[in-house]
Structure formats: structure tokens, C-alpha cells
Amino acid sequence: MTESTSTSAVLADGRPIADGECSHLPGDTHMWVMVLGDLAIFGAYFLIYMVHRAMAPEAFLAAQQHLDVTIGVVNTMVLLTSSLFVALSVYAARSGRPDRAIKLTYAGGACGVLFVAIKAYEWSLELRSGHTVGNEFFSFYYVLTGVHMLHVTLGLIILGVSVRELRAPKRRRITLVEQGATYWHMVDLLWIVIFGLLYVVR
């Protein structure tokens, strides 16, 4: 990931500046470019979705009935939990407790894997019931959740980089860990919007 010149919250001799406190904008400019740009592009997707929905409200409504809201809620809880773990891991890293941070990152990552597994299961359900991209609502469903899953997978890789960073005693750059958390929170935020648009708004 990217390096930045902002100071780590851990002093050279290992003492933390303050427990959990931070003196700079978390992450760095490059990651924020990524996050904001990603949000913008997804924003465009959502807008286009809503336009198409407005053009054929009954068809979309009918198709939406076939989505299982329960699975959607479970997935949302899983991802929110993972975000909690990742946020806690950033606090732990800032407080100079890399081992705890690593464990929390793993926990967040595990939730991410669970999310993907549940989504794969949901896809197989829908496909077996015959809901393929032939239907316009479902083509949105597969594309939006598919691209989101791509982001989750990327996020897992980024969390892996965070873990690698935390493991090596000579590195442990806080900014890297923060960047990973920023990205992961973005992934979570995107899911919440997707969940709202596809599952809830009926």
C-alpha cells in the first residue's frame, strides 16, 4: 500500500502517544482518493439503478420478492461485526498492542470470508430458482453484489497486508493499518447502501 510521511502514533521507543488517540487524518491521501472515487462510482451505479427502477417499478418489485431479506440482514450483521473488529484493531495498533490488533484483524477477516460464503450460498439459491441475469432487477443484483464481493476480496487482501505489517516488529506503520481499516469501512458502507436499495426498499 502507500507510504506517507505522517507520523506514527507510536514513539521510537515504543511508547504510545496516547491510548487510542490520533494526531492526523487516518490513512493517507492515496487511499482516500480510492475510497472517495469508489464511493462516487458506486454512487453512479446506485443512481442508475434507481432510475431503472423508476422506469419499471412493478417488474422490479415482483423480482425483489424473490430475494431473501433474512440472508441480507445476516450478511449485514456479519459485515458490521467485521467492521467493529477492524476498528478495534486500529485502536489496539495505536495503543501499541500489535498482537491484539492482529487477532482483531483476523477476526474481521474471518467475518469477511463468512460474508462471501453466505453471499455465494445466496447466489446459488437464486440461480437454482432460475433467477438469472435475464431479469433486469436480477442483473443489477448480480452485478452490484458481484462487484461488491470483488471489493470484499480486495479488502481481505488489504487486511492481510495490515497483518503482515503488524507482525514485523521493524514496521508496524500505523498509517498502513489505518488505510486498511478505511478501505474496509468503505466496503461495509457500500454494502449497507446495496442492502437498502436491493433488499429493503420495496
Binding site: 480510492m34 469508489d38 442483473s139 443489477f140 470483488l150
Partner: protein
Amino acid sequence: MRVSATVPVGGEPTLTDSQPPPSKRALSIAFWIFPGFFGLFGVVFVVLLRVIPPPRPDVDNKYITDYFETHHSSILIGLGLLCLVFGGSAVANGFITYHMKRMSSGPVFAYVYMGGLAVGSIPGMLLVAVCWGAAALRPDREPRIIAMLYDLGMLSFNGQLGCFATAYLAFAIAILVDKNNIFPKWLAYLTIWQIVTEVIATQMWQQTSGPFAWNGSIAFWLAVVVFGVWLNCQGLMLKKATDDHPAGTRPPD
């Protein structure tokens, strides 16, 4: 915070020594072919071939044959112009490859980028012009054959996924790992969006209408906006990398 882009020179001394003062004219020439080519690309694909923006997939054979008859001349001239200038893509992408070799991330991804785009230029750029040229060449051809060429052209142009996704992935990874800051990190993130648009483009092979068809709001319009932004950024950063290139140095072999 400027990181010097000096790269350690490869171990072997060059056989032919540069005479002082080293000039960067060669790099300058290579650079200016990038915007020159893409400018012509725009003329060919937007004005002449009319592939950008694309005509609709959900039309009947009669519409398609009329389309080729109406745009007969501009399509053939577009094909001709492309055949003349499309080597510019080899220069543009070869020059990016050269800069990638200056990175500290090793040569692998430079070669992947090179390979992916050397391949991609044929089914992903030339083929649509060739197919449409053949379609426009004989207006009295069977409509169903003309329609087939229409599809073959559009799908190969807009739906060419792997070559570009691979090249973009190589570009993004190389930048993220690079410590010589040849290209800025945010360009890597922009490139990841490009990969995402390629993944979304998979849908156009299954739809003839709607937002994911080859003319769709998402699969085409949004994708072309993202591509336009990305290409301009890549070009601007290429200029910067070229300007920052220390004269007389060369990347490791």
C-alpha cells in the same frame, strides 16, 4: 516531497557510451506519440467508425444494413485510418512498459502489461474496424451476414476483457509495490476501477438491452467515463514520469 526517480543502472556497462550532454529528446518523442495516438483513436472510433458511442444491439437486420449503407464511406475511411495509425498503441503502451521497468517492483509486471496490451490491441481494437469494414464493403451482402459482422465487431471491441484486465492488474500491482514512485499510488487505485469495469463488461455478452448491454448506462456510459478519466490520468502521469526521468540513465535490463 519528491522522491528522486534515479534507478540503479544494470550491472553491465553499456557498449555504446552516451556523449554528453545526455538529451531526453527520444523520450519526448515517445511521450508525444501517446496523446497523438489517442487523439487519432478518438477521431477513428467516435467520428469515423461511430463505435463510440455504439449503436444499439436490440435492432433488426434491416436497421443494421441501413446503418452500414448510410455510414459506408466513413466506416471504410475509419478502418483505413486505423490501419495506418494503430501502431501508436504499441508506442504508447511500450513507453509505459519502459517506465514500469524503472520501478523497483521488478520486471515481471512490466512484461505482463506489455503482453496483455500487445494481444489486446488486435481483438480489442482492430477487429471491430475490420469486421465493420467488411460489413460496409458490400451493401448487397446477405443481411444476416452483415448483422453477424456487426455483432462480432461490437462484442469484440466492448467485451474484450482479459487482456485489458490483466494489463491493468499488472499496472496496479507494480505501482503499489514500487518504491521509486515512478507513478503515483492513486493511479494504481484508479486502475483497479478499470479492472472493475472490465468485470462488469462480462454482462454485455448476455444482454441486448438494458444497463448492461454494450450500449448500456453502466456497461458503456459509466465505463467510458471511468476510462476517459483513467486514460487522461495515465497520460498526465506519464508526462510527469518522463519529465522526472534523469537524462542519460536507463532501467535495469
